[in-house]
Amino acid sequence: MLPLACHRVVNRHDLNLATGGATSVSMYTTELQKTAKIENLEDSKLLEEFEARVAADDFIEPKDWMPEAYRRTLTRQISQHAHSEIVGMLPEGNWITRAPSLRRKAILLAKVQDEAGHGLYLYCAAETLGTSREQMIEALHSGKAKYSTIFNYPTLTWADIGAIGWLVDGAAIMNQVPLQRTSYGPYARAMVRVCKEESFHQRQGYEIMIALANGTAEQKRMAQDALNRWWWPSLMMFGPPDADSPNTAQSMRWRIKRETNDELRQKFVDITVPQAEFLGLTVPDSDLRWNDEKGGYDFGEVDWEEFYAVVRGEGPVAKERMKARRDAWDNGAWVREAAQAHEAKRRQRKAA
């Protein structure tokens, strides 16, 4: 059988990408409506076989039988991940024309192009579950679908580009590495490609931070300011505490999620704090302390009120981001239509 990344059965299930209230949110995939329950109507034998395959770390492919809740949860998770990659181009795109050197500009262009590529891999993976690209994009533009809260913060200075690469891409890698072993084949394969490319993103960001931290007093202040503003939103990227993430257990069982929000957040703090120390910068958390006993850092409480406010669309630049996406879509409509018309004409000529 051909391992189709995208198959043709589109619109088989008109999936609602995000209904219901926010109960659990994580990472690039703001997981809303996590009330996925297995339908009793489904064939219990098929379900049993499915659960056994997933438990054995087997991969599920597009045309394999799967519970509707699995399909729905994955569609939401992957499409939100894709939306995050696409919206994620905006904060950085903001600095392409103002990068401080040709080298930085070329690097930033390549990084932003990668983000577009990652969005495309992911949309394709999500499409294999039966929702069309157009439906997903409509869900984003109408505000029904979510994307990572992190991209609703503004990029005020050049140091923000450094901080995003270092912290935001660092957090993304932390989340994406385990997803290379996620149970859904097309998603896992997309994650393998993404992870291969993501390491450059983080390193170029950290390199910017090194340059600024070792620069003039003003540059160092700029680097510290960027760390101050991006630290907490980066920790929020892992989603709410495990206690408030009621469906983590099911997602873990289905291998859609491989580590819990709190586990990933802890890992991130543990590897990032020494990197901040190397830069001579201070992590903006007065509760941050090494805990010898647990072999990791203790750290302060994330402001979850702020997090949920951003999820609700109250982020500092949420409206601006959505307007930019909708404008890009609307302004590009004539190109999409012209390309289609051109191909239709060509076919007609060929047929004549």
Partner: protein, 94 residues
């Protein structure tokens, strides 16, 4: 009805001597743009020396629900494998 551009499956030959391998898919209005999109999407880092794009709708796939019956004969005919045969150790180069 979706007004998405048609879907194309993308295959990349990593280097001469290797077969083209499926890497993913792209939407494109025609073959030429499908190739260009495939190039931008899947070969930004010297991943290949040759690209194929095939309309996804043209691909015929076997049914996973019938995988059992379809591939079962391969399992029962173990005499198709060289290790099935007992050859004395002193016989070389066989």
């Amino acid at each position: 009805m979706s007004s998405d551009w048609p879907l194309w499956e993308v295959f990349v030959r990593a280097k001469g001597g290797l077969a083209h391998r499926h890497v993913g898919s792209v939407h494109a209005p025609d073959a030429e743009l499908a190739l260009r999109h495939a190039r931008d999407t899947y070969t930004r880092r010297l991943e290949g020396v040759s690209l194929w794009v095939v309309p996804s709708a043209e691909i015929v796939a076997s049914d996973p629900d019938e995988a059992g019956e379809l591939f079962e004969p391969a399992e029962s005919k173990i005499y198709r494998h060289p290790t099935f045969y007992d050859i004395p150790d002193e016989v070389k180069h066989i």
